[in-house]
Structures are given as C-alpha cells and as structure tokens.
Amino acid sequence: MATANTFVQIGSTVTVGSGGAASIEFTSIPATYTDLIVKASIRNATGLDHMLLQFNSATTNYTEIIMRGSGSAATSYVLSTLIPSTNGLESGYVGSDTNIFTNCEIYVPNYAGSNYKSASIDAVQEANSSTAYMVLNAPLWSSTAAITTVTLLGQTYNFAQYSTASLYGILKY
C-alpha cells in the first residue's frame, strides 16, 4: 500500500550501456500513484537531435506547445499534428559533446485517470558552443487511456552510454 504525500521510484534507473540504445521504455506502470515524473540525463554520440516521448507506445493524438531558447533567440511553436511521420512528443534537444548530457524532467499529472493526458516538460541541453537549447513544453495526449508505458527515444540517433532515465510516482492523497 503506497503512502500519501510520497515520491517513490518505480522500477529501477536505466543506465545505457556501451552499445547505446534507441529507446528506454518503462512498462507495466502501476495505477497506484497520482502523478508520474521522469527524470532523464541523455546524450548521443552523433549530433544534435530531439528526444521524443511516447505514452503507451502511441504514435498519434499528440499536440504540443514548445517554447525554445537558444542563447541568442527565443521562439515558440505549436505542433498540432507534429511533424509528419514523427511519432512522439518532443522532449528537448540532445547533443553529442563529450561528457555533456541534456537534463530533462517530465511531469505527468493524473496519468491513470480517464481525462486527456497533459504534462509539462523542461529540458536543458548543454554544449561546448554558444548555442544550446532549453525548452519548456506543454504536451497533450488526447487519449482517455491510463498511461501504463512511458518511452523515451531519440528522433534520429541512439542514446549514448551513461545516459540515464528514472521513473517516479507521486502519491498526493
């Protein structure tokens, strides 16, 4: 029995091995919490890329508002149908600079409820250059299904060794 007002890790922290990984999936997430939090530290070995987020491995019914700062400019986007053929929510930029990881937190309130699923995503890319992207995203998954699987994946490149991801459950009541 989970205890109210707690912040509990679900499953275990994933650390990507030397071969890299295309994605990290947390499956069979129990419905016993109020909210979910994903904390990720990600880099790849190839170049600038997006990290994508999927709920229940779905590839449709996502919308998202993105606010992006690069160090020299701030812009905002509304992705109503997302980019054609892109199969998840954008969750920040990931670079390939040695030993430099993007930090990302994804908060999903009421993930097991029957309403559409909103979330908030903040991600800060670090880089050995004057341009590095920080984003604040407001995604929506238009589905009444309870979220039981959360997937992080690189849009173009695989996650590199020592990238990590952890899932936590928040129980408010």
Binding site: G11, A21, I24, S85, T86, T156
Partner: protein
Amino acid sequence: MATKIIVDCSTGITTEVELTAEEVAQQEVDAKAYAIEQAERDADAKAKADAKASAQAKLAALGLSADEIAALG
C-alpha cells in the same frame, strides 16, 4: 543492431532487446523528419529576424531613435 531498454515496473526486471524491422524503419522516417523540421524552423527564425531588421531600418529612416525603436518591442 540497435536495441531498446525495457523496464518492467511490475517486476523490476530490465531487459535489452533488438529493435524490430518496423521500429528500425520508423527510426529512419523520424530521422528524415527531424532534418526537414530543423530546416523549416531555422528558415522561419531567419525570416522573422530579417523582417524585424527591415522594419527597424524603416523606422530609423522615419526619424525614430534607437531607444524609441527598442521601446516598440
């Protein structure tokens, strides 16, 4: 062969499995989409910056000071 890492939260067991052919194909499609999307965003950002610079130059030609132009946002 690319792999994915799966954490089964009901058991706590973590496994690493190879991507299916369908997942590999989707990865290739996503990569192409990323390149297109970045080019579109960069072009959009440049167009907005160019339009702003053009507008500021026209305001300056009308006699507005740099501070007055900046005050317009």
